[in-house]
Every structure is written in structure tokens, then in C-alpha cells.
Symmetry: C2
Subunit: 100 residues, 2 copies
């Protein structure tokens, strides 16, 4: 388990640019990132959520997420640092990988 | 699997009254019901979501839900009937029972 550190300045810009390539966008009015994942049905969507949940629990870093049927809208931020951290970047990357 | 039928009139009032006893409230501006479930931690919250997901898939009737750590905010409505149906009442009751 890694201690989160807040991303600022050039580190933050670089991370956001890399995340943008994978469909993650900054959230209006919050130091957070968001992405909408769309699967083929509820089974696929919730199956993915379950795999992410195991990863998140292991990281002790959890997403905010909204699910309706085959769609999952995810927001990532780190409460303990009051914004975007290295853990958000790591979790975003794992979510992308698990979504295949 | 049951075919949904829209709740109206006295049936709807009766259902809403029974649901209100269990913490379900009508949603402002939508023919839907909502409830916030709070668990002890993410493990408990997501464990409950997983059990509900299996029930929902079996019913072929799925919730709208938002999870942050130990909290799950649920909204139930039935797209096919454009409002609240018997399936929403059934799923709400199962969610309550699984939350213990």
C-alpha cells in the first residue's frame, strides 16, 4: 500500500495528459478525474466493477462510481490529500487494463 | 421473471407508504424511489452490492446506484413502463432484506 501524494504542477499536467489519452477528463470544479465505461450488458459491467473492487480494496483506495445497467461512470480523487494523487493515476490505469 | 406493470393510483400510494416505512422516498421530478444505504466499510458495501447484483440479474431488473466507500445511493424506476413498477417494489424489498 502506497501513501498518496498530491499531484501538482508539471507532474499533474503530465499525468492528466497521459490519462486523457485513455479517455479520463478533469472534473469541473473539483481536483478529480472522471471516465464513463460502457460495457455490453450488466453482467460485463458489474463483473468489471467486482474486479476493480478487489483491486481498490487491496490499494485501500476506492472509486466514486455510478452504475446503470451497462454503464459505469467513475470519478477518482483522494480525500486524504484533497485532490488528485498518484493513487488515482494508479487506479485509473488498473481500471483501464481490466476493461481490456 | 415477471413482466413489470406501472403502479398508479391507490396501488402506488400503498406501495409508497410501505416503502417509506423502510426509508425509501420518492425522487423529486421523477417517478422513482431512492434510498441511501450506509454500511461499516467498503467491504460490506460492495459485498451487499454483489448480492443485490445477482438478484437484479436474475430479475432482469437493475438498479441505478452510486457508491462511495461505505455508502450506496440507490434509485429504482422501470424504464419499460416509464415509472415505478411492481419490480421496483420487489427489488427494494430484496435490497432491504439483504442489508439485514
Amino acid at each position: 500500500m502506497t501513501t498518496p501524494h498530491k499531484l501538482t504542477g508539471a507532474d499533474r499536467d503530465k499525468a492528466l495528459a497521459a490519462l486523457a489519452d485513455h479517455g479520463w477528463a478533469p472534473v469541473e470544479g473539483r481536483d478529480a478525474i472522471a471516465k464513463r465505461f460502457v460495457f455490453s450488458d450488466f453482467n460485463e459491467a458489474f463483473g468489471w466493477m467486482t474486479r476493480v473492487a478487489l483491486v481498490a480494496e487491496h490499494m485501500n483506495h476506492h472509486p466514486e462510481w455510478f452504475n446503470v445497467y451497462k454503464t459505469v461512470e467513475v470519478t477518482l480523487a483522494t480525500h486524504d490529500v484533497g485532490g488528485l494523487s498518484n493513487l488515482d493515476v494508479a487506479l485509473a490505469s488498473k481500471m483501464d487494463r481490466l476493461a481490456g
